[in-house]
Structures are given as C-alpha cells and as structure tokens.
Amino acid sequence: MEIGVLALQGDFLEHCQILQALDVSPRLVKLPRDLSGLKGLIIPGGESTTIGKLAVAFNMIEPLRLFGQTQAVWGTCAGAIFLSKDAKSDQPLLNLMDIEVERNAFGRQVDSFEIDLQAPFLDKGNHKPFHAVFIRAPIIKSVNGRAQNLLMLPDGRIVAARQDKLLATSFHPELTVDIRFHQFFLEMTKS
C-alpha cells in the first residue's frame, strides 16, 4: 500500500520516518502526477500560507480536492488548516473538511507547548496518553456537517477532528516516537 506525503514545504520527512517504521513506503508528492495510485495522503506541518501558495502555483488544488473526495487525507497543524473550509484568513484552502480553524490560536512561539492527552480511540483500554506537541498551533473552533470532534484539550478546545476518511490534528504526532496516530490513519485508508 502506498501512502503519499505532501512535500511542498514543512516536516514531511518526519512523517515519512514514522511510516517507514510501520513498513509503509511513503511517496513524496510535489506535483499532480505524484498522486496517482495512492491510497492515502498526509499533509504535514509547515506554514499553511506557503503550502497553499505552492499548491496553487503548481496546479495542485483541484487534484488534491478530487483525491480527498475518495481517499483518506490527514493534515497535521498547517495540514489541518489547509484541509479546512474556513481559516478566517485570506489564503488558499482545500475546503474538504467541514471545520472552522483559528490559526496561531495559542499565541506566538513562546506559547508553544507539549501535553499528554487521553485518547480513548488510540489506547485500546490501557489509558496510555498520547503526547501532543503544539507549535504555533491552530485550534478547531467548530466541527460542522459530517465532521466530528475527536480529541479535546482539558479546557475543552478541539484539537482533532474526523470526517469520514479525512482527519485533522492541530498538533504533531510526527514529532514524537509514538506511532499510534499514524496506525490509526492507516486503518482509515483501508475503510
């Protein structure tokens, strides 16, 4: 099974390393032709404005939209913003997920943080928390339509959402050595 990682800009190699640890061979996606035959795509962390502009410049917006209508796509941080329908900002978006996001919702870099979150859908009953790293992170202000809230901070703010085969996380599982979120996504690609 081949999974793509959008490699326009950002920490795509960190995602590739985890996929390789799961015996999945990742394909770097930079142009529309790179999407053919893929069973899933990860949009990495990075700068969402840069990723969006490069996607426009290399005619990737429509191919990515079409891909996301039938295949699994997971966006982390900038990727989650790019997947959304609304980011309250003038920048290119894929409009795939019915979520509203707020960029840099926690403030600037000095406010970036890490925290353990309880993630019952990952822990198979052992209550092992998922260590979540937030870097100038967005939050998901609202989930609408078919999108569902998947994970919240202790204060109730939404930091992960799912809509059928689409997944958005405002933190970076690729910056940890915990492979469970990537496993969860690989299961989604098969559904």
Partner: protein, 295 residues
C-alpha cells in the same frame, strides 16, 4: 503530565516546520507583506539588509523594537529578529516583544568577543550561524535550536555558503565512518561537546534543523544549497536588493521546493530581472569578512 512550554522539543519543532522553506530579510512592514505573499515561511525583521550594513559600516545593533512590532502586526507567518553575538540583554528585549526566533547573528557587530549567549536561559528559540561542525555543535551546546551555515552575508556570492555546507556535511560523513574510540579525540579537535558529537554520529545529521545563509541570490543558488543537503534557505540582501523583489522571492520559494527538478528550476529562473549586484568574496579584505565573527 501538565502543559509544558519552552521545551527544547517545541523550540526545535518550529524550525522543523520551516523546513523546505525560505526565510527572507525584510526592513519594512511593506517588505514583510511582499515576502509573505511570495510564500516565505518566516521573515527576519531588521533595519538594514547585510549589503547595506556592509556599505554603511559603523556598529550594527538590534533593530528598533517599534519596527519589529510593526512587522509582527503585518504578517501571520513567524517573525525572527537579530541580536548581537553575546548581547543577552538585546535577546531579553526581543523575547519580551514576542518574536518567534532570535538570530544571534555575526551580521551585527559582536558585543562579546569570547562568549555567546546562554540560550538555554530563554523561552524563545535561537538560530545561530556556523562554518563547520565544531562551531555548530558548540552553538547547539549553548542551546541553539536551529543552525544556519554562515556563508558571507551581503555579498550575493554563494561560494562561502557552499564551503560551510560542505564542511559541516563532510565532517558528519567522516564522523559516521569513524570507530568509536576516535570520537573523543575528534570532539577535542573540532572543539565540540562529546555528547553532541555522539548524537550527531548516531543521527547522521545535526541534532537540529540547518538552513543555508549568506550569499544566496538566485533560484539556482537555493537549489544548489538544498542539493548539498541543507533543510531550507535564508535570503538576505538577495531579494530586496534585486530588480523585482516580489518575482525573485516567489521564484526562490518555488526553487526551494523543487530543488531537484532542473526543468522547474529553469522555468522559475526566467525573466527575473536584475539580481543584486553582488561582491566577490575574494575581493573583500579579511578585516571586513563577517563569517569569522563567532567563537
């Protein structure tokens, strides 16, 4: 575990998010907007680009906080700012402004000729310049969460950036082929902390993200540095000292993404107008070289 801020993981993490991107020097909010619109991943806010610092002479210091704040208000991407080597009070001020990264930079006039800032003391992450592996690992030992090869700033001549990147990556390749018992002597020779030498050897790369800087002026220069192995590029004078900054900035962003695709590099290199005039590094008297600042 409760929420933890300012860990080395989140400091280093922001640099990881900038990979494959271009960080541009800007001297006004208008420049910052042009850079953001062109696809920059971050901007470096300063009063004068390195080419002008060279031309003006005198003491180059931290920029006016007013300018930095205006630039922070103008763009949504991360904003970096420079302090002088060893000037930890300039760094304290920059941290209080809320900049996203501090560049403890040889481009400004050093404030301390023997010591760099203890960067572990700060919540804000730091990027520092290096010419070789020893210098890189000393800076990381002091707490730098991102590196950049120094090149020779404000020249538009890429030769020093190439020299420094080859030096860093060549040393890592040698390190990987070295038997364990040679590591301590190697650490001593390059003046680097032993633990970081061991970590670099195990990783096969620097423990933090490493960008190229100092002399990059064209999309081809960006492609060259990326193919040599850097994670992204800083462009200082190369953009706003050129004939058509918006177009050139955008072309360098595209070249950094498609650095190994000569066809795309060819397309984005067309009709960019005049590049910055540039100054050959070999013509610069030794006393005027910037990269030698740093200890």
């Amino acid at each position: 575990m409760a929420e933890q801020v300012a860990t080395f993981k989140v400091k280093k993490g922001l640099a990881q998010m900038l990979k494959g991107g271009v960080i541009m020097d800007v001297v006004t909010p208008e420049h910052a907007k042009i850079a953001e619109d062109a696809g920059a991943v971050a901007v470096m806010a300063l009063e004068r680009v390195p080419a002008d610092i060279r031309a003006h002479g005198g003491v180059a210091r931290m920029s006016d906080p007013e300018l930095i704040i205006k630039i922070m208000e103008t763009v949504s991407i991360p904003v970096m700012a420079k302090c002088r080597i060893g000037h930890f009070v300039e760094a304290q001020i920059l941290e209080s402004l809320g900049v996203d990264y501090i560049d403890e930079s040889e481009v400004l006039t050093p404030a301390d000729e023997a010591h760099h800032i203890n960067k572990h003391d700060f919540k804000v992450p730091f990027v520092c310049g290096c010419r070789n592996l020893g210098e890189a690992l000393r800076r990381i030992g002091e707490g730098a969460a991102m590196m950049r090869t120094k090149g020779e700033a404000g020249t538009g001549d890429v030769v020093e950036a190439v020299r420094h990147a080859r030096s860093v990556y060549g040393a890592i390749r040698r390190l990987q082929n070295m038997p364990e018992e040679e590591l301590m002597t190697f650490s001593k020779e390059i003046g680097a902390p032993y633990e970081l030498v061991k970590e670099t050897r195990a990783l096969g790369r620097l423990p933090v993200v490493n960008f190229a800087a100092g002399g990059i002026a064209t999309p081809a220069d960006a492609g060259l540095m990326m193919q040599l192995g850097v994670d992204g590029v800083f462009v200082g004078s190369g953009i706003f000292k050129s004939g058509d900054p918006a177009k050139r900035a955008n072309a360098i962003v595209k070249a950094t993404t498609h650095y190994n695709d000569p066809e795309i590099l060819g397309q984005v290199s067309r009709n960019l107008g005049e590049p910055m005039v540039g100054r050959q590094v070999t013509d610069i008297p030794e006393a005027e070289l910037i990269a030698t600042r740093g200890w």
